[in-house]
């Protein structure tokens, strides 16, 4: 493999800045890698070689600068890009070219980051395996018969197979962290409102958050610092300073930090190899000088049910915009059919099974007579979960848990069993409901030879704390080199 492909993003940027290698060469090496392996992985839905090489050339000409200038990136196909298709993994948006860029796209381009293309995902980010994409599943580079997690499986698989050192995902219930964990990569969900949502295809607006994906903690922090910060175009964007994540990622000293182990996220349902690597990581944190205690968060067990009411409810409202009138698919417009009939047949043809299931579920949860029992109660549980976090953060600086109960599962094994699929997000959902930041950092391989992720959760706007812990774990375990153990892709 070309040695440029194995390089971390920060090292690549340094080599490009020092003119040891050109951004065009780096970009071409990654485009060649996509050509070579993506037939087997299927991480990308669209590769945008022309724009990628054009951006790289501008970096080489000195027009674009920044800490990651010239570094290629895989962009989840839920982030809109002017002139390049955005499908969000759905037939209903197939071929849609939108007329503007998301704020994070503008920020990345201005910083010289080279967007290679758009990556596969579960339709409208609803799923935990990328199998709900209308355009076929993505395969896990560690074992092509397994899923790369979801919904952002395309981005994580691209990073894990050296097709890109950086990526962007979105995390509504774990869609950045869970794919990160099962592909052996770093995935970060920033504080809600920390990164602009302008130009993200909306799934569940009170939970959605874009964030960085990478092979190293420092690379994720550098990308985080580029995309974060207030955006007048997103009224939920936080108007305040960006947490000092890059400094934190360069600090591997965690002596004196108080770390809480979530008691509820262990035991039955947790794979032995996941528990073993997690327990070792916790012991390591103690060795590194942290003060580790067990913390009970009694309502975390109710996060999954609350999430599967709140997210489908918001989705049923957000997806009402796909009405076949202004953009996207239109089916059945024969001059006779009414607008309402055209809407119904278009949505039937354009939405996949999981999206239909969630829209119907959300419609039910919001309907007269059931609203209080389901949506209202779920919002009260959301309050209880936030109170659990607040109580925990009185005595600890961060919370830790396994990112996922199991390693990557086999393609096809859960796709017809929605409840089994939903369990993949058991540990990641609480942070979305609370709004605090959380990340997944690799902490070794389980008994089946597949990667395990350590989740670190921090208080709202204290994103730097989780980077500090993750950087210490990565440095001590050498997990920035974990992907070296992944098999060659045939």
């Amino acid at each position: 493999m070309n040695d440029l492909l194995r390089c971390s993003a920060s090292a690549l940027a340094a080599r490009i800045a020092a003119r040891e290698v050109s951004a065009v060469e780096v970009t071409q090496a990654h485009l060649d890698r996509i050509e070579e392996v993506d037939g087997a992985v299927h991480a990308f839905l669209h590769v945008d070689a022309d724009n990628a090489l054009a951006t790289a050339a501008r970096v080489d000409a000195g027009e674009l600068t920044g800490p990651l200038a010239g570094v290629p990136l895989a962009l989840k196909d839920i982030v809109v890009t002017k002139g390049v298709p955005t499908t969000a993994g759905s037939r209903i948006l197939e071929g849609w070219i939108q007329p503007y860029d998301a704020t994070i796209v503008t920020r990345m381009r201005d910083a010289g980051i080279v967007i290679l293309g758009k990556t596969n995902m579960d339709e409208f980010a609803m799923g935990s395996s990328t199998e709900h994409s209308a355009f076929g599943p993505t395969h896990n580079p560690w074992d092509l018969t397994r899923t790369p997690g979801g919904s952002g499986g395309g981005t994580s698989a691209a990073i894990a197979s050296y097709q890109a050192p950086l990526g962007i995902g979105t995390d509504t219930g774990g869609s950045i962290r869970q794919p990160g964990a099962v592909t052996g990569t770093v995935g970060v969900k920033p504080t809600y409102g920390g990164v602009s949502r302008y130009g993200l295809v909306a799934f569940s607006s009170s939970l959605d958050q874009a964030g960085p994906c990478a092979r190293t903690v420092l690379d994720a922090a550098l990308l985080h610092s580029i995309i974060a910060g207030h955006d007048p175009m997103d009224s939920t964007s936080i108007d305040g300073p960006v947490p000092p994540v890059v400094e934190a990622a360069r600090t591997t000293d965690i002596s004196g930090m108080r770390i809480g182990v979530v008691k509820e996220f262990a035991g039955e349902g947790y794979q032995a190899g996941v528990t073993a690597r997690f327990d070792e990581a916790v012991a390591l944190l103690e060795t590194l000088g942290a003060k580790v205690v067990e913390v009970s968060c009694p309502h975390f067990g109710y996060a999954l049910p609350a999430y599967y009411l709140i997210a489908p409810s918001e989705a049923s409202s957000n997806l009402a915009r796909y009405d076949a009138m202004r953009y996207g698919l239109r089916v059945g417009d024969d001059g006779e059919a009414s607008a309402e009939e055209v809407m119904a047949v278009t949505r039937a043809a354009g939405f996949g099974t999981e999206v239909k299931r969630r829209v119907i579920l959300g419609t039910y949860a919001l309907s007269a007579g059931y609203y209080d029992a389901y949506y209202g109660q779920a919002q009260r549980v959301r309050t209880l979960i936030s109170r659990d976090f607040a109580a925990a953060f009185e005595s600890v600086d961060v919370l830790v848990s396994p990112t996922t109960p199991t390693t990557a599962f086999e393609l096809g094994s859960r796709v017809d069993d929605p409840m089994a699929m939903y369990l993949a997000d058991l540990c990641t959902i609480p942070s979305n409901l609370y709004g605090g930041p959380a990340l997944s950092v690799p902490c070794g391989l389980a008994e089946d030879g597949l990667p395990v992720g350590l989740q670190v959760m921090a208080p709202v706007q204290a994103d730097e704390r989780m980077y500090r812990v993750a950087a210490a774990v990565e440095a001590a375990l050498g997990t920035d080199q974990l992907l070296e153990q992944a098999p060659e892709i045939p």
Binding site: W96, T236, R380, M419
Partner: protein, 98 residues
């Protein structure tokens, strides 16, 4: 408490404007029952005196000065329309013309 019938799903599909097939209606009725049973657990814990959270981080209404700024042209806005005519979106009939 849930017990969602095929007729319920048919009604919900009409509200959601999705023309589900017979086999989809059959499958969804069974699955939604299982899902609602599981998610209905939220009724076990949250008492009425717990305030609901709609948004994780406090948000307030955000205003900006009422000044014209550049926006999409009609051509850009209509570029992805399934049908357009005279600089407008062309839609199927919305009134019942008997």
């Amino acid at each position: 408490m849930a017990a969602i019938t095929r007729t319920d799903v048919e009604h919900l599909a009409r509200l959601a404007r999705i023309a589900l097939t017979d086999s989809e209606l059959d499958a969804l009725a069974g699955q939604l029952d299982v899902i609602l049973d599981a998610v209905g657990r939220v009724q076990e814990v949250a008492a009425d005196d717990i305030p609901p959270t709609t948004h994780a981080v406090p948000v307030t209404n955000v205003l900006r000065p009422d000044e014209p700024v550049p926006c999409l042209t009609a051509e850009e806005a209509l570029a992805a329309a399934p049908a357009a005519e005279d600089q407008r979106f062309r839609v199927p009939r919305i009134l019942d013309l008997q």
